[in-house]
C-alpha cells in the first residue's frame, strides 16, 4: 500500500515535470510560476466537480482548458520580455495565484483548502497520462516543433532569421506546458484528495526546473527517470527530509560542473532503439 502511494505521488509529480520540460528544457523558458498552474488545475477541477456538480471527465477537461487559457493570457504580456524578466514576472504571477486562492475563501475554502473530493484518480489513469503526454512530447520533439524549440533556446535572433516567429512559438510552448501542468494539478486533487493554496509555491516550481536540468535538457527519458528518483527518494527517506534538498543541491552542482547537458544528455529510450540493440546481441 505504501509503495503504491509512493508510486502514485511520484507519477503525479512526473506529469508536472513533463509540463515544465517542454518550456524550460526544450525552449529555455524559465518560469517560477508553474506551481500556480498546478494550483489552478487542481482548484478548477475540484470546484467544477464539487460546486458545479459537473462529471469528473468534464472537470478534468475544464482544468486543462483553464490552464491553456491562462497560459495564453499570461503569455501575451510576458513572452516578449527578456528571459530574466519573464522569470521574475512568472514568479510574481505564481505567488499571485496563491494569494488569490487564499483570498477567495468562499470559492476555494481559503487557507483551509478543499477536501472531500472522491478518489477518482488511481495509478492506472496517472500512468496512462504519463505515457500519453510523453508520446506527445516526443512526437513534438523529433519534428519541426521540437527543432524550433531548441533553435529558440539556443539563439532567438538567429531563429527569427530562419523564419521562426519566436513570440508565437513561445506562446504555443507556454500554452501546451501550462495545460499539461494544470492537468497534473487536476489529477493531484482527485488522488491526494486535499488541496490548499500553499501546496505549490514558487519553491515547488523551482524544484521542477531543477529536476529538468539535472535530468537533461535534451532527454525526456532522463527527465522522467530523474523525477522518479527524486520524488520517490523523498517518500522513502522522510526522516532525513531536510537532507533531501542538500543532496539535491550537491547533485545539481556536480551535474552542472561535470555534465552540463544533464545526467542523461541527449539519451532517449525508444522502443525501436531498445529492440535493435537486443537484436544485435
Amino acid at each position: 500500500m505504501f509503495y503504491l502511494k509512493v508510486l502514485e505521488i511520484t507519477s503525479l509529480y512526473t506529469i508536472l515535470v513533463l509540463g515544465v520540460y517542454l518550456m524550460t528544457g526544450l525552449t529555455g523558458l524559465f518560469s517560477l510560476g508553474q506551481g500556480g498552474f498546478v494550483s489552478i488545475g487542481a482548484y478548477t477541477a475540484a470546484i467544477a466537480f464539487m460546486k458545479l456538480n459537473l462529471p469528473f471527465p468534464v472537470a478534468l477537461m475544464m482544468a486543462v482548458v483553464m490552464g491553456a487559457v491562462l497560459g495564453f493570457l499570461i503569455g501575451i504580456p510576458t513572452l516578449r520580455l527578456r528571459r530574466d524578466y519573464f522569470l521574475l514576472v512568472t514568479f510574481c504571477l505564481g505567488e499571485m495565484v496563491r494569494a488569490a486562492l487564499l483570498y477567495l475563501a468562499q470559492l476555494t475554502g481559503g487557507a483551509l483548502g478543499m477536501a472531500g473530493m472522491p478518489r477518482k484518480v488511481g495509478l492506472p489513469l496517472i500512468l496512462i497520462s504519463i505515457v500519453f503526454i510523453t508520446f506527445i512530447l516526443y512526437s513534438l520533439k523529433r519534428s519541426r516543433f521540437g527543432r524550433d524549440c531548441i533553435a529558440v533556446r539556443d539563439d532567438e535572433l538567429a531563429a527569427s532569421m530562419m523564419g521562426i516567429n519566436v513570440f508565437a512559438h513561445k506562446m504555443k510552448v507556454f500554452i501546451i506546458s501550462s495545460a499539461i501542468t494544470a492537468y497534473g494539478g487536476a489529477l493531484y486533487a482527485f488522488n491526494i484528495l486535499f488541496i490548499e493554496p500553499n501546496l505549490f509555491n514558487w519553491l515547488e516550481s523551482g524544484r521542477l526546473i531543477i529536476i529538468t536540468f539535472v535530468g537533461g535538457l535534451n532527454s525526456i527519458a532522463g527527465v522522467i527517470i530523474t523525477s522518479a528518483i527524486y520524488y520517490s527518494f523523498g517518500e522513502f527517506f522522510r526522516f532525513i527530509d531536510v537532507w533531501r534538498d542538500v543532496l539535491l543541491a550537491l547533485v545539481v552542482i556536480l551535474v552542472v560542473i561535470f555534465r552540463p547537458g544533464g545526467l542523461f544528455q541527449g539519451l532517449e529510450l525508444l522502443p525501436q532503439k531498445l529492440l535493435s540493440r537486443t537484436e544485435r546481441k
Partner: protein
C-alpha cells in the same frame, strides 16, 4: 528587376550614428559588395534589411513590396536569407537539424497533426530530410550530417551556415563577412562556391567583407561606407581608383 531598394535609411544607436541617409538598389542575379572600415555601418545595413531592429528613417522595398515594418521572420519567409559575421549555428542541434530549421516555416502540417504523428507530418519531414541532405551534399558537408556544429572546424561551420541559407530557397542572400577567419585556400574555394551558388540557384547576393580580393573578384558593384555614410559606389576598378575610398582606408597621407 530590382530585388531590393533601400531609400534614405538612417539608424542611430543612442547618440551613435550608425547609418545616415543610405540609398541602395540591388538588381536581380547580381553580386554586390559593401565595404568600409570597421564600424562603418556595414552590418547595420544587413540588420536593417532583415529586420533585426527597426530603422529610424527611410523605407526598404523587397521585390516591390514595402517591408519596412515587417517582422524578421516574415522577411525570412519572403526570401531573405543571411549568414552571420560571428557564426550563429544552433549548437544543440546536429548539422542536419540545423539545416532543417531553416525551412520549418514551409511545412503545411499543423501542430495537432504533429502531436499525434499523422502521416502528413511524417511525409513532409521525409521531404525536408531529403532536401537537407541534398544541400549538404551540394556543399560537400554530408560526412558531418550527424555531428554537432561545435565540434566542426571553423571553415566547415561557415560552409554549413551557407548551406543552411539555401534551405529556404531564398531570393536574396546576405553574406556577412563570409571569409572572416578562413585561410587563403579556403577563401579561394569560398569564392568559387559563391559564384556557383549564384549561377545554380539564380541568387541575388550582397556581401559585406573586409577581404578585398574576394570583393573585387566576384562583385559587379561595390558600395563603400565610412562612418555610416556612403562615400562611393561603382564597379571594382572604379572603387580601386577612387580618391575618397583610399583616404577612408589609408588616411589623408595616402
Amino acid at each position: 528587376m530590382d530585388v531590393l531598394r533601400i531609400e534614405g535609411v538612417s539608424k542611430n544607436f543612442g547618440g551613435v550614428t550608425a547609418l545616415v541617409d543610405f540609398f541602395m538598389v540591388q538588381h536581380e542575379n547580381e553580386i554586390t559588395g559593401i565595404i568600409g572600415p570597421n564600424g562603418a555601418g556595414k552590418t547595420t545595413v544587413f540588420n536593417l534589411i532583415n529586420g533585426v531592429y527597426p530603422l529610424d528613417n527611410g523605407r526598404i522595398f523587397f521585390i516591390n513590396q514595402d517591408i519596412t515594418e515587417s517582422p524578421a521572420h516574415k522577411r525570412a519567409e519572403m526570401g531573405i536569407s543571411r549568414t552571420f559575421q560571428n557564426i550563429r549555428l544552433f549548437k544543440n542541434l546536429n548539422v542536419l537539424d540545423n539545416m532543417k530549421v531553416a525551412c520549418g516555416w514551409k511545412v503545411r502540417y499543423s501542430l495537432w497533426e504533429e502531436m499525434i504523428r499523422l502521416p502528413r507530418p511524417q511525409r513532409e519531414e521525409k521531404e525536408i530530410d531529403e532536401k537537407a541532405r541534398y544541400f549538404l551534399e551540394y556543399l560537400n558537408l554530408t560526412q558531418y550530417a550527424n555531428q554537432r556544429p561545435d565540434n566542426l572546424p571553423y571553415g566547415i561551420q561557415r560552409r554549413l551556415e551557407l548551406a543552411r541559407t539555401l534551405m529556404a530557397e531564398p531570393k536574396l542572400l546576405l553574406l556577412d563577412e563570409p571569409a572572416a577567419g578562413l585561410n587563403p585556400k579556403e577563401v579561394v574555394s569560398l569564392m568559387e562556391m559563391i559564384k556557383k551558388l549564384q549561377q545554380d540557384y539564380n541568387l541575388t547576393i550582397i556581401i559585406v567583407e573586409h577581404h578585398m580580393e574576394l570583393i573585387m573578384k566576384i562583385c559587379s558593384l561595390i558600395h563603400v561606407l565610412d562612418f555610416g555614410k556612403k562615400i562611393a559606389v561603382g564597379k571594382p576598378e572604379e572603387i580601386k581608383r577612387n580618391e575618397s575610398v583610399l583616404q577612408a582606408y589609408l588616411g589623408d597621407g595616402a
